[in-house]
Subunit: 186 residues, 2 copies
DNA sequence: CCGAGGTGTTCGTCAAATCGAACGATCTGA
DNA sequence: TCAGATCGTTCGATTTGACGAACACCTCGG
């Protein structure tokens, strides 16, 4: 999984970056957000595990959405290797399920089965409409896919999700490669 | 742009909703996330102000993005562009794509990878909430599935969709059977 | 020279979040 | 009916985050 742990360092970096971008001093931001400047200092230094309340106040004072502080570098590609996803209750024997992606409250998801054969790089010429997210689960073979600058290689059972509204590639590495593609657009 | 206050109640509601949607008990979710169930209980009851670390662990265990827990009231403003028809294989030059099912304008689809092993007995899956539709694409092996009175056998690449709110079976016919399951519920 | 006002950091204290254990309430199978 | 296993809640003990007051440092201006 690409989820090492709590993005404490990421929050620290995002806080400092957003604060400097807003041209605020640590003291001033702390005053506006109503938090102690000592708290903010420790947060920016990477130490500490802020509460939602505290982080929310800082986000409001900075004028940025909450999610931008906790997920600053929106992971362009989310990969779940085979057998690495969180397991879903196996209410029955002989059945193990791995939840790859929860459905958004609204939006559509179209289900495809795609087959690819090795050859010249198959770069998608035109991206899809904005907001599109593609989910790919390789059934057999190997596929190199992802945004142009972050291509990952997937094997059977591997899962990857990435934005579909930017140029991205689909390249089969072996004959007989096929996969399930769920295209989500909001 | 300043929203009223910390979405404590929203987080509580989102936690409970996502947990029930994943079919997890409070105890089980707490165990997987590595947090005390007492903590989770208080969070879902609206009391408490979770730390980022705690909330992150819960988000990972639930398989949902962090932001979905803190910003559940996503703006229902959604535009499905007119004329945005389903993609056909001819539009995707370098591989063949087969549209299996178009997503409903509202509702959600959760993506799973499931592995099944043959057993001496197979029990029927418990029905899900009304309106649930299951889409299954077999990646490897063979699966007998479908409503109790209409069981079909699927091989690699085969696709089947059926109502999930009636008793239905999942039975692997070969070792190493796995498939992609998209569970759709409105 | 030296106080005034600013920066960000470190310290002790207190409230609160988290934890572990025990609780009553359901169920299920013996 | 009872033992066992769940469910979710509540309770006290402990950890820890948030606070406020100092702190060292820097830059002006009297």
């Amino acid at each position: 999984m690409t989820v090492p742990g709590p993005p404490l360092a990421a929050i620290a970096a995002a806080l400092r970056e957003q604060r400097e971008r807003a041209g605020l001093s640590l003291t001033e931001l702390a005053r506006r957000a109503g938090v102690a400047k000592s708290t903010l200092s420790q947060l920016e230094s990477g130490a500490g595990n802020p509460s939602v309340e505290t982080l929310w106040a800082l986000a409001v004072a900075l004028g940025v959405p909450f999610s931008q502080l906790v997920e600053p570098p929106a992971p362009p590609v989310r990969v779940v290797r085979a057998g690495q996803g969180p397991l879903v209750p196996s209410e029955r024997a002989h059945f193990t399920g791995s939840l790859l992606a929860a459905g958004p409250p609204h939006g559509r998801r179209d289900i495809y089965v795609i087959t690819l054969e090795p050859g010249p790089e198959h770069r998608q010429a035109q991206p899809h409409i904005p907001g599109t997210v593609e989910h790919l689960i390789v059934a057999a073979g190997r596929v190199r896919t992802g945004p142009a600058d972050q291509v990952v290689e997937l094997g059977p059972g591997d899962y990857a999700a990435f934005a579909g509204d930017v140029p991205h590639a689909y390249e089969a590495m072996e004959p007989g490669t096929w996969a399930v593609l769920v295209m989500e657009h909001r």
